[in-house]
């Protein structure tokens, strides 16, 4: 790229001074700005938008030791903030943004991440999302290791944290846009002192569609000094943007000091520098030969996925398509501006945060505007592209843009639209039911219109915004389709839409998706290649080991404010020759870099093993948190069948050779003379059984009961046997464990007292009995069934009183009838449009067979 190129974009800065003058300050708080020492400020900021109160909280050594930071702090604060009965739109729901101790170093790639935690509207359990851009680091350099936002504002507000002046304000901002590409630009320019200061401002915002759906995302901004434009990165998953808008937040703005290379005041700068230079050099030497991240970012794997039949095509029916070439890296290398530093934080030489510049929009309120589109990333290309049968890059870019600016998670949106399109294909939906939208495969324009409806809060867009799990119920309740079938084809777990990899032929990845804390999301474990392509983890125990190690290891990134990509999307040149294949997959030299970074920043010497321990504490805590909110048992770890095998005849027959061969190899059954239906039934039984065996192995490895509950021993080993945590699992433990709890909790009174004083939630959970999961009873017998007579009768009532004997059952009804009726009524069919059922069944372009 020419160093002096001037990018032409539509600008939204006109009149921002007048807009700013219209702000009314509702509350103000003065604080002493500080810089972290060895990675921590040791305090966080809590804001209650309902009462307009500000509170600084001290972060002590115990908290750091147990929860490290980032996602760990977020989960701890959320636990303290909510009750088991809390729902996402209750005022006590807490949005926590926490950067982590390593976050903000500039020398090592991928060190600017913020972790966002809240109670998810789509899953009703905690969600955590890892996001780039500058908000987290600038928050930290203003003086806080975490920001908590509780309560609800009466009308739209912004929160401005000025880390230079030491001032936080809650202000009205009536005139600025809700949509993120505009809002980020307007607020950035309003709160920077001059042009050079623009890079020291970051904005968090959602968008118009976040409030009308349950899949709202948050956009975190940074100012790109080369392009001279604000860029957006997303905390995408789990609907945190919806919570944000429910609290009536228009934006959070942070204005921090000018960033330098030593703002964390690390214990050993040289150690960090050495690790950083080494990785930059690897990027320089090997990226072109390895993942070409600097050229095409994560889209480099579109063609790889297609080649291995792993790319989601048409709602995960198929794994490849002849038109994939139109949305693979050969296309993106032309679309993305090349040769420009594209890191989402300083020092990211992996630079995957690419952008399509000066893109002319073709639809919606910004039609004709020239914008920068951040992405598409792999997930967007696959989810909003191939998974919807859309192979036109321009539609994918447009969809990416509007998802971002409206505040919608592209992954959920892609999986949702794929599901809707398959419902259309099968006649479950038609033009009458969608209000005139033709949702046939490949209709990019309809996909965009669905999105615009979501933003306007009207029509079928409102139903789509409810997510796949609720749509399954709505469509069957309306009598449009059979629930069992809808359930099979809708890719969601725990209510969260699955991200964009085909897991049918990788048992380990099925576990990687559905044995996760927050729902089917590849950030815990991506083991498809190891499992399916390289066959490195053949036994259940091998797979269980991978599903122990990788989720734990990857959790660590979120504790520290790091990006996962520079861990294994680049490798030292000799990684594969020096290490045995399974070790190579862990990239040992890079793990050592992380040891150096943590120790170099905090001064606390750790080992590679300690990394896993730090993560496991938080991971197990999160699992118990799920249980506390009514999920977190085996029943909720079950995939829809589409994630495991062929649901329909077409799917089977499109890969008949493979499936027939599997019948012989796996089941020793001769497929000859059997109908497709018979063969499908055999597969289903085999695959479902096999998954249950995997679940057993993984639970054992993770130290859980066969119902998926962390045992007392597991909690103790991880040092998270706090009374409230123990109380949560207690009703599910064995008799002997219950006896042990009684003993332990009366022996060490002092310690318990200590731990209790650290926990806040004083009310025991509702006394209703736990219904054993009758409907979804696991196929493998639970060897340790939940103990019903678990109510302990301790000697020292004081401590044990805190342990509720029974837990409130999970909310069964996922969508209120009234809500559904209201939603369905809102679908206004376009005048005189007739339902074309035949059209729905039109043959679609046959995906290629592998």
């Amino acid at each position: 790229m020419d160093e002096n190129k001037v990018f032409e974009y539509t600008r939204y800065t006109e009149g921002i001074e007048t807009m700013k003058a219209a702000h009314k300050v509702l509350a103000e708080y003065a604080f002493t700005p500080s810089l972290p020492q060895k990675g921590y400020n040791n305090r966080s900021l809590h804001i209650d938008l309902g009462t307009l109160k500000f509170t600084e909280k001290k972060i002590g050594e115990d908290m750091k030791k147990t929860f490290t930071g980032g996602r760990g702090f977020g989960l701890k604060y959320l636990w303290d903030a909510i009750k088991p009965t809390t729902r996402w739109n209750d005022p006590e729901n807490d949005i926590i943004i926490s950067p982590g101790p390593i976050c903000g170093i500039t020398q090592y790639p991928g060190a600017g991440k913020s972790l966002v935690v809240a109670l998810s509207p789509i899953t009703n359990i905690p969600i955590d999302s890892n996001v780039g851009a500058y908000f987290g680091p600038l928050l930290k350099f203003s003086g806080f290791d975490a920001l908590e936002i509780q309560g609800k504002a009466k009308a739209d507000v912004i929160v401005v944290i000025d880390g230079v002046k030491g001032k936080v304000t809650i202000e009205t901002a009536p005139q600025e846009s809700l949509d993120s590409h505009v809002a980020a630009e307007q607020f950035t320019h309003q709160y920077a002192t001059d042009e050079a200061d623009l890079r020291n401002v970051s904005v968090v915002s959602a968008g118009a569609a976040a409030a009308h759906s349950l899949i709202g995302c948050l956009n975190f901004s940074y100012y790109d000094v080369r392009r001279k434009v604000t860029r957006l990165k997303q905390a995408g998953r789990g609907g945190i943007g919806t919570v944000f808008r429910d609290k009536k937040i228009k934006a959070l703005v942070v204005h921090g000091p000018q960033v330098k290379g030593d703002m964390n005041h690390p214990a050993d700068l040289g150690r960090i520098q050495r690790a950083g230079v080494k990785l930059h050099k690897e990027m320089h030497d090997f990226d072109d030969k390895m993942c070409t991240m600097r050229k095409v970012g994560t889209t480099n794997i579109v063609s790889v996925m297609d080649a291995y039949d792993l790319l989601p095509v048409m709602n995960f029916q198929y794994g490849s398509h002849p038109d994939t070439k139109n949305i693979d890296k050969t296309m993106w290398v032309q679309q993305f501006t090349q040769g420009i530093p594209d890191g989402c934080w300083y020092g990211c030489s992996m630079a995957c945060a690419h952008g399509v510049d000066e893109f002319a929009l073709r639809t919606g309120p910004y039609k004709g505007h020239k914008v920068i589109v951040d992405g598409p990333e792999y997930e967007t290309a696959a989810g909003c592209g191939s998974n919807c049968g859309i192979f036109d890059p321009l539609w994918v870019i447009e969809c990416n843009f509007y998802c971002d600016t409206y505040g919608i998670d592209t992954i959920s949106f892609g999986t949702i639209t794929g599901f809707i399109m398959e419902c259309w294909q099968r006649g479950i939906l038609n033009a009458e039911r969608t209000g005139g939208l033709d949702m046939s495969w490949g209709k990019g324009e309809s996909q965009l219109e669905l999105m615009h409806q979501m933003a306007r809060g009207e029509g079928f867009g409102l139903i789509a915004g409810q997510g796949v799990q609720r749509m399954k119920k709505i469509f069957s309740d309306q009598g449009w389709g059979d629930y069992a079938f809808l359930n099979d084809i809708g890719l969601e777990g725990k209510g969260l839409e699955q991200s964009e990899y085909m897991s049918k032929e990788s048992l380990a990845q099925q576990g990687g998706y559905y044995l996760t804390n927050k729902g089917p999301q590849h950030d815990e474990a991506w083991v498809i290649f190891m499992d399916m392509v390289n066959n490195q983890i053949p036994t259940f125990e091998d797979k269980a080991e991978a599903l122990y190690y990788f989720p734990m290891f990857r959790t660590w990134f979120g504790l520290n404010g790091l990006c996962k990509l520079p861990w294994n999307d680049i490798e030292p040149g000799d990684n594969r020759t020096k290490n045995a294949p399974m070790d190579a997959a862990k990239v040992p030299e890079h793990v050592q870099n992380y040891v150096d970074l943590f120790s170099g920043v905090t001064g606390r010497e750790i080992t590679k093993e300690e990394i896993i321990k730090m993560s496991e504490r938080v991971y197990q805590f999160q699992r118990v948190f799920d249980l506390r909110m009514g999920k977190g048992t085996r029943k909720y770890d079950q995939p829809p069948y589409r994630a495991m095998g062929p649901v329909t005849k077409e799917e089977y027959e499109s890969r008949q050779e493979r499936y027939d061969k599997q019948l012989m190899d796996w089941m020793q059954i001769d497929p000859a003379g059997k109908s497709t239906e018979e063969k499908m039934a055999l597969h289903r039984k085999y695959r479902e059984d096999r998954y249950q065996k995997l679940v057993d192995a993984v639970y054992r490895r993770r130290g859980w009961t066969s119902n998926g509950i962390p045992t007392l021993e597991t909690l103790k080993r991880n040092g998270i046997d706090f009374p409230e945590v123990v109380a949560t699992v207690l009703p599910h433990l064995s008799e002997s464990e219950v006896r042990e709890v009684r003993a332990a909790y009366t022996v060490d009174k002092k310690e318990i007292k200590n731990k209790i004083s650290k926990t806040k939630d004083k009310k025991p959970a509702s006394k209703k009995t736990v219904k054993q999961d009758k409907k979804n009873k696991p196929k493998i017998k639970d060897k340790k069934p939940a103990v019903k007579k678990a109510k302990p009768t301790p000697k020292k009532g004081k401590t044990i009183k805190k342990i509720p004997a029974k837990k409130k059952p999970a909310k069964k009804v996922i969508v209120k009838k009234k809500t559904v009726q209201k939603l369905v009524k809102k679908i206004k069919p376009k005048a005189k449009r007739t339902v074309k059922k035949a059209a729905a069944k039109k043959p679609v372009k046959k995906p290629k067979k592998k």
């Binding site: 330098k260 290379g261 950083g276």
Partner: protein, 127 residues
């Protein structure tokens, strides 16, 4: 474009350049803080110093690197965030870093070392 031209065949390994360079910019005689480095090899001496190729300029995320009027690549410490990407991306590995220093440093073709070299192995030249 001004740059420091090296003639390693004349170098006797006296390392006066390393000393003067670090002295001039960091007030210490410390080869680790010198922009120019001399290394003994089997066949003699190797001199490593920035040749002002400018490949680091587009790497910098904050435009802290640019050419001055003479064509010398200069680092603006006010803008620099110390990310060291320029260090890893320098094709000759001549951008330097030191644990005492937040920002990297490089040869600015000032010529002090050339004057200090008794063997005349260094000179300021144009290309």
């Amino acid at each position: 474009m001004k740059y420091l031209k090296t003639n390693p065949s004349l170098c006797k390994g006296i390392k006066a350049c390393e000393k003067t360079c670090s002295k001039a910019f960091f007030k210490v005689e410390d080869p680790e803080k010198s922009a120019i480095r001399v290394k003994q090899t089997d066949s003699g001496f190797e001199i490593n110093v920035c040749n002002q190729c400018g490949e680091c300029i587009p790497i910098c995320p904050v435009k802290a690197l640019s050419r001055n009027k003479q064509g010398v690549v200069m680092l603006d410490k006010k803008l620099c965030v110390g990310c060291l990407m320029c260090v890893g991306y320098c094709p000759t590995l001549s951008m330097r870093t030191h644990p005492d220093l937040r920002e990297p440093f490089k040869c600015v073709a000032c010529g002090i070392c050339a004057r200090a070299c008794p063997e005349k192995a260094l000179e300021i030249a144009e290309k």
